[in-house]
């Protein structure tokens, strides 16, 4: 069983070919938002390098968020195009699940955090392979509060933080949480092979997604919708204005 996995949710673009449990090919381009130009070329190279063709692939796996709105849609649109054209199954994998899976062996609390701009990170907490909290956009203050609560709940004394949000917020976290903060810089990058291996688990359980119905997990509403609901009197807590649409490809 061969899985082509795609990830364009963050500034890192990734393409992997995962054959059952073995990663045959993985390429990461940490070059910022150039995914629209590069993604299909990266996929093409993955086939050239391995000798596989799209025909050999059973499943197209793709990260569906949270992450950059535009980046998510580039990846998902490409995955849908490939799946529909070649008659392949599609499986969407939440971005944070894939990053946490990098540390699947750990017994610690794991907290992937992705830069969400506007002073927030997209985040969720994991323990023993289980997700404990919703996918959400949190300010560093609320992240610290949530970390304390989850540590108490699980009896863990440390949290391992991963993802590109760590760059920006590590010292802030250390100020509040002290020695409880563990960061493993080698595991910060989202690894698209993890997307493939999570998709392989779901494939074995027969859990494929619908190519027509699959949509991104945005976590946030669009800025215009937020403003509209404020105007209409429905106050939105924890949802910030965001001009993701201003971001280039």
């Amino acid at each position: 069983m061969l899985i082509l996995s795609i990830d364009t949710a963050t500034p890192v673009a990734g393409v992997a070919l995962v054959d059952d449990r073995k990663t045959c090919y993985e390429a990461l381009a940490n070059t910022g938002y150039k995914h629209s130009r590069t993604l299909l070329q990266m996929i093409d190279v993955s086939f050239q390098q391995t000798g596989y063709t799209l025909h050999d692939v059973d499943v197209i796996a793709v990260t569906i968020g949270p992450g950059s709105f535009t980046g998510l849609r580039i990846g998902l649109a490409a995955a849908k195009g490939l799946a529909l054209a070649a008659g392949k199954a599609i499986i969407g994998i939440p971005t944070l699940d894939a990053i946490a899976h990098n540390l699947g062996w750990s017994r610690d609390l794991i907290c992937p955090m992705l830069n969400a701009r506007k002073g927030e990170v997209y985040t969720s907490f994991y323990h023993g392979g289980t997700r404990l909290t919703e996918y959400q956009a949190l300010s560093p203050d609320n992240l610290v509060k949530t970390a304390r609560r989850v540590m108490e709940q699980t009896g863990c004394s440390t949290v391992t933080f991963l993802g590109d949000g760590v760059n920006e917020y590590l010292s802030l976290l250390q100020e509040s949480l002290g020695d409880a903060v563990v960061s493993l810089p080698g595991y910060w990058l989202p690894r698209v092979s993890a997307v493939g291996s999570l998709a392989a688990d779901r494939w074995r359980r027969g859990q494929v997604d619908d190519v027509f119905g699959l949509t991104p997990i945005y976590v946030r509403k669009s800025e215009a919708e937020v403003r509209m609901s404020r105007l209409e009197g429905g106050g939105e807590l924890g949802v910030n204005d965001q001009r993701d649409e201003a971001q280039g490809p």
């Binding site: 490409a78 799946a83 669009s222």
Partner: protein, 343 residues
Amino acid sequence: MKEVRILGIETSCDETAVAVVENGHRVLANLVSSQIDVHRRFGGVVPEVASRKHIEVIASLVDGALKEAGMAAQEIDAVAVTYTPGLIGALLVGVSFAKAYAYGLGKPLIGVDHLEAHIYANFLTEEPPIFPAVCLVVSGGHTSLLYMRDHRCFEMLGQTRDDAAGEAFDKVARFLGLGYPGGPAVQKAAQSGTAGIYRLPRVYLERDDYEFSFSGLKTATINLWNKLKKNGEEAAVNDLAAEFQEALVDVLVEKTINAARRKEVEQILLAGGVAANARLRERITQEADKIGAAVRIPPPALCTDNAAMVACAGYYQYLEGDFAGLDLNAFPQLGLAVQKTCG
């Protein structure tokens, strides 16, 4: 000759559209998923909301278009997609999907300029237009006057310096509380009003060129309305709508007729959503008649954004072997890709 079937994909603004066109003129399927109702509550197109709708419906539309055309995906000869100009996030959904879809089918990919596609809506017929022609593209995003010498050979004569004609319709309609989208709303109000009761400027009409400007007309309309209200006068919104429409149409018609006369063309091609405006159709047909030119206007469904026009423009690129690579990207403004040197 073998039939050539192009799958067209359009996501540059607020319509997700997919079509299959055979040999550049036979429309086998033409599906449009309109977002008008989604954007109505915002009073205009919201880019992020538009992009979210595109990704939700694009795969179903492609599937639906093929079913309607009674074809398997493999029977398509190429995939054509709008890559410029438009809302960047919206364009990227179509471009990313189309690239992967063409790659997955092993078929050529064609990047189409949306403006060129609007003009090619005039070619979706058994009797194609005669070259050379003058083309007026008027929509929510464009006001452009072009000289078309041959297939894919255009000379840009003039464009709007600020608002597009359709944009002016939208803004004035919103201000006057006539509804959304503005074009049909203003037209409806104007039908029960009279132009000339109020007086609005014909901006740039005095200039002997092909440039347009509608921002000033919009502002003049708003200012006049405010003044009437302030003076406590009984202001008739329908009369003001009629005068606004007439002022806008006057400029479009006169400049287009001037171009047609000087370029000595037999045909004038209208395109874009505003080409559906009844007053514009009526006036330009009358005036063209006086100089012995014929006006061609696509049916309303092909004037507004659709993918049949994209597939049609794509067909002529296909014939020239003008294909895109896997690195095709989307561009919000390309400064008119169609303005190329003609052979």
